[in-house]
């Protein structure tokens, strides 16, 4: 019974896709292609330019991005707020360590937090090299029929699936 409650706390994928597409089209009409990895650069630019303005001025990657006073930063900040509101108003359980990770390894918070730090480092380093992430390159790009988005999308899914298999082995299947 409890399990049923949890599973029905999630929205089914099809209506959720309509909701997300509505938001994406709204963003294309009112701003431009939605992006979230750019918001990381804006965050750092806003922070670093207060202490080392010359460094920020001389780096191409910061010169090509706006600072925190921008749509890009407001969007990622908004996503945190949206996640907060959704979390507080819904019935989806919030955990610091995913169930499958705990089953595969242990409930060490240090290990999980170190792993997500490393994972976060890799995805943002890679996203900045490509010029976008799941949203800014795959979703925005593919919506605009961009080959860059489709190429990136095929690779991220393929390598994420292989990596998850190497990390979790048969853990997920034993449930």
């Amino acid at each position: 019974m409890e399990k049923k409650n949890i599973s029905t706390a999630y929205w089914p994928w099809l209506p959720a896709a309509f909701a997300l597409a509505g938001i994406i089209v709204f963003i294309f009409a009112t701003f431009g292609p939605p992006a979230s990895s750019s918001g990381f650069v804006s965050t750092i630019k806003g922070a670093v330019q207060t202490v080392a303005p010359e460094y920020v001025e001389n780096k191409t990657h910061y010169a090509m991005m706006p600072d925190t006073g921008s749509w890009l930063f407001a969007f990622v900040l908004g996503m945190a707020m949206g996640g907060f509101i959704a979390g507080r108003t819904g019935r989806i359980p919030v955990r610091d360590i995913p169930e499958i990770w705990e089953k595969r390894f242990d409930s060490s918070r240090t290990r999980r937090f170190a792993a997500t730090f490393v994972g976060g480092f890799i995805i943002l380093f890679a996203a900045r090299l490509a010029g976008g992430c799941t949203l800014g390159l795959f979703i925005s790009g593919s919506s605009q029929l961009a080959v860059s988005g489709l190429y990136f999308g095929a690779l991220i899914f393929a390598f994420a699936m292989v990596t998850a298999r190497l990390v979790y082995g048969r853990t997920g299947k034993e449930e």
Binding site: Y10, G78, G120, Y151, I156
Partner: protein
């Protein structure tokens, strides 16, 4: 500047809310999507792109679309896709979901976000060295599917067909075991 900030904030709140509700901020669900055990999130992403591509065609017809196609660099986009996939499969978060999951209260997402800031800062530092090395020499330009088809609507039909087939393949290949609702 003012309206841009409010639009960004509003769009972000709506986006973060929806991805939390569908379960994309839950790294457990993301791992199970990658392990071919739950197909809901990949089908959600693919369907959102199909609908956005059709919606964007409408915006273009109305003359109110703001588009910007990123170039394809065979090496940089490829290497980045491989690295990104490894990181995504390893931690179960992508850049956007770290913000929403951190807001939701997931502590591991807070560390993914901090790691992400560090990764972006390191790349920004090395941009002047890496971009001329990996990106620029292999940049084939802002190519789109429309370059290979007769018209933009034809390219949208091609995209919808490809992604529709992917959704069908997920339905067929991903082994759902429990409740049907989120899958």
């Amino acid at each position: 500047m003012g309206s841009e900030i409010w639009l960004g904030l509003f769009s972000g709140i709506a986006f973060g809310f929806v991805i939390q509700r569908v379960g994309a901020t839950n790294a457990d669900k993301m791992a199970k999507a990658h392990l071919m055990l739950q197909g809901g999130i990949p089908k959600f992403m693919l369907m959102a792109i199909i609908l956005s591509a059709i919606g964007l065609l409408g915006l273009e017809a109305a003359g109110v679309a703001n588009t910007r196609v990123l170039p394809t660099s065979l090496v940089a986009t490829g290497v980045a896709g491989i690295l990104f996939g490894i990181g995504w499969g390893f931690c179960g978060y992508c850049p956007g979901t770290t913000w929403a999951a951190a807001g939701e209260g997931r502590m591991d997402a807070v560390f993914a976000l901090i790691g992400g800031l560090a990764g972006a800062a390191v790349f920004a530092h090395l941009h002047g060295y890496l971009v001329p090395l990996l990106y620029d020499p292999f940049n084939v330009g802002q190519i789109t599917l429309a370059d290979w088809t007769a018209s933009r609507p034809a390219a949208v039909i091609l995209l919808v067909s490809i992604f529709g087939l992917c959704i069908g393949a997920i339905n067929f290949l991903w082994k759902e075991k429990n409740d049907g609702r989120t899958q």
